[in-house]
Symmetry: C3
Subunit: 365 residues, 3 copies
């Protein structure tokens, strides 16, 4: 529990304060470190102070209001922070899609690009949120990824779905999402993102379905994401279907991670499709009271084009200075087949390999 | 009183803390719902998750410092939040005016576009604020509007002043505003916004005057706004004069709202003028312990061009889950004469009607 | 100590809370006032409500986490606020440099342009911070400047280093900075900012060295800043060297300020250099319990071009309403030689003089 909420809870005991405990919590992550990244450019690699070695830096505001009867009102506003330069809120960090789920709002768009939601939460009936939020397929793979919700080293958000789709489909604007409570460890979710096209509700809309099981040492997570891509003239050009299935099992001395994903990009006008498959195996190993070792091996298999697969090996060691602050060092290596260019800058020749070495500090507030 | 201030107040009782109680309060509104809006486009209406059905979403920071002797220092920073996509702070949402009150800063401009003020507040002598703030005419009409300070359904901010002026003249940058304390229910205010033109203090400046009476069930509000519009070469092109007069009377079982407004856009170079008049009647009706019904009928009369009037009928029902959170549903219909296009997108033929249906949740934090 | 931290500390006494006290502090400055500025434009001066008369307005988030053993984790996020219009976070306020320390991120760039750091702080071993932060030369001159860390009246940030360099070199992105603890009043710091060019770590990098002594009434501050400027093709065009030496001595009834600076802009390709020297004398005088008078005289000497020097005289009076809030009035006059144009807008003829008169309020929260 955040200190500010603790303060209010303790005060309640002293002061007989109102039953509706509520507060705004300011929270976030600042993650910065030295980084050497080779993105395949002929000129060589880049040394620098870079953010997001372990997790993307962010700042947010959230709160919970007890409405009585087991019902809460909840809100969350969260923005990506480029902590090496301070850039935040301001400008798109990727090209704005002209169709698709984000409807003119790019993945890294200014403002509260990670979360902008309000909703109701009930222990008996589950949670419904409106606004901009994570897709259910991202909710599933973030639980399975050994490195949590991403960063420069993490494999799922960087090479799964051919390396370019996770960002597009990880967060959905203009959306409603419902998650059930946990029934004996089972939990289901469904989301719908409006395309908001004039006169055509289906155009550029997306939906997702998720199912999870978490009980004792075992966690199994399934997620599906379906994205309609239509032109401004409301002609469907693509229907993109992403499926993820992953599991973790915690033996105590080691936690195993495994994941499988399938992607179909169905070009409606040309009646063709592009297909990918992904695999991941990983481990998390606690080392002493404060250390943790993470390792993973992940594959992006291009099922449409030959000799266009990629493989990414990642390893990270973290050392906790407290529950909120840790040091880390990590390394990842992406090997591209002759026809693949995952993790490469535009100037890099196709088929080059990419690597990142990082040593830094992650502080949660 | 916000919980964080309560916490400090209670602590004061325990700890004998300093007499100057002070704090930064993080506050805001996240208002989101399902929305069907028809803006007259031939292709049809738009379904989506949209913000601001009841009130514009926002996030802010404010504080009060007790300086002793009945004097407070106050500050406020408040930004519009497009809660369906998370967009905030970043980019203009309307075209930046090249002259006029906002002096290169559009109504929806990034940053703290709603409030950026510091001032002094005295019970005996009133309040003075510097910076970007609401105009006195907006202060007047927000009190009279049945739906409070605006949103997609609200009539005054959307069709009064020909539907395009409220945003322009609702908030003024580079300004100073003074409000008297209440004398037997009477309160007056005056504001001046600098045009900040080189060598000409009057060019593009604006001023406003307000007078209000609030006592028991009756509230009467008057506001005037005068806007000089000059070119970069300091030639005055327009003097725009907006007047608002409104009143509410609370009978307990029902509250009546009535408003009248007059607009003159005097084109100085052509020696012509464009004139509008507005009327509103509305009711607010408490329904049970948690319900409220709002209804209004408003007119925009174009006094310069024939057959160019518009009428807007609005109705909204709100149901309180707490003091801070409520559900709502609302509907508004705007009927345009053959020569009017209020509430229409560019693609819509002139004279089309517009409508919005919304059902959502508003959470204040 | 901020009230929110006090609240937690007091609560700790009551509740036996955890030993790691931590919190996010929301803080900032809103500084606004009436301002008459003559920037040499033939059309005359500008009257307006303007921010930053005494100090630049800002908003920030920071926190300290006690890690035990005298070690703290610290973070800081701070943004410039244009408090007269509310603009913040959004857009560059100066041209983005195409080379140099800020690497595409202009001095006034959106987001947390002032600070975006995470670091470790130890009483025994000093402080290390990563991210975007002040350069060591700015740390030195902010201590010596009679007006603190800048504003429209302050001399060092506006005419030292030919008036254009302080902003460029005052804050560095992609950087690491280390400061020693104080040893008998002595304190040293070193910073390195990565240029982050592909294949060339030195290109566009910068470094700084600082040494300070503060003991009793005497403070002496030295700072050096070295900036490599290289083209995108990694050809070094410039090596810029800035040196600052200043001191203050507090006699109680008056505090004396003196400063000297030296700038060399070495054009590597043309083998030429441009040189400036700066001098400042100033006083701070407490007047009664709540008043303070500041006065300074500063010179920018152009050692490369004849008849291109400038002089700036500044005076300011502040009156404290509390520890956090004060009123102020100030005046500065910049006299340019025929070949100098410090403080002038583009439209102004070279050699014009510039002046600013301001009366306002500064509120810290």
């Amino acid at each position: 529990m955040k200190k500010s909420l603790l303060a209010l809870a303790v005060l309640g005991a002293f002061a007989g304060a109102a039953s509706a405990q509520s507060s705004v919590t300011v929270y976030g992550i600042v993650d910065l470190g030295f980084d050497n990244t080779d993105s395949g450019a002929p000129a060589g690699s880049i040394n620098g102070i870079r953010g997001g070695g372990q997790n993307t830096s962010r700042i947010g505001f959230k709160g919970t209001e007890d409405l009585g009867g087991g019902l809460n009102a909840i809100f969350q506003l969260e923005a990506t922070l480029q902590s090496d330069t301070g850039a935040a809120f301001g400008a798109p960090t990727t090209t704005t899609p002209t169709s698709g789920p984000n409807n003119g709002v790019a993945a890294g768009f200014g403002g509260f690009n990670r979360f902008a939601t309000v909703g109701l939460q009930s222990k008996a009936f589950g949670t419904v949120n409106l606004g901009r939020q994570t897709s259910v397929i991202k909710d599933a793979y973030d639980i399975v990824d050994p490195y949590g919700d991403g960063g420069n080293i993490a494999p799922i958000s960087t090479i799964f779905f051919n390396g370019a789709l996770a960002g597009d489909y990880g967060r959905i604007s203009n959306s409603v999402k419902y998650s059930t409570p946990s029934f004996g460890g089972f939990k289901a979710s469904a989301a719908y993102g409006f395309g908001e096209a004039t006169g055509d509700t289906g155009a550029s809309s997306n939906y997702g379905l998720g199912l999870g099981y978490a009980n004792g040492p075992l966690s199994v997570q399934f997620g599906y994401h379906n994205q309609d891509r239509s032109t401004a003239a409301l002609v469907q050009t693509n229907e993109n279907k992403l499926m993820f299935l992953g599991a973790t099992y915690n033996f105590g001395v080691v936690k195993l991670h495994g994941a499988y994903a399938d992607t179909k990009l169905e070009n409606t006008t040309a009646a063709t499709e592009v297909k990918y498959r992904n695999y991941l195996v990983g481990v998390s190993v606690p080392l002493g009271a404060a250390g943790n070792l993470f390792a993973s091996y992940a594959v992006n298999e291009n099922r449409t084009t030959n000799d266009a697969d990629a493989q990414k090996a990642s390893v990270m060691y973290t050392y906790d200075l407290s529950k909120r602050t840790n040091l880390y060092t990590g390394y990842s290596y992406t090997s591209n087949d002759d026809g693949s260019r995952i993790g490469l800058v535009t100037a890099a020749p196709v088929g080059e390999s990419a690597s990142t070495f990082t040593v830094g500090i992650r502080h949660k507030f």
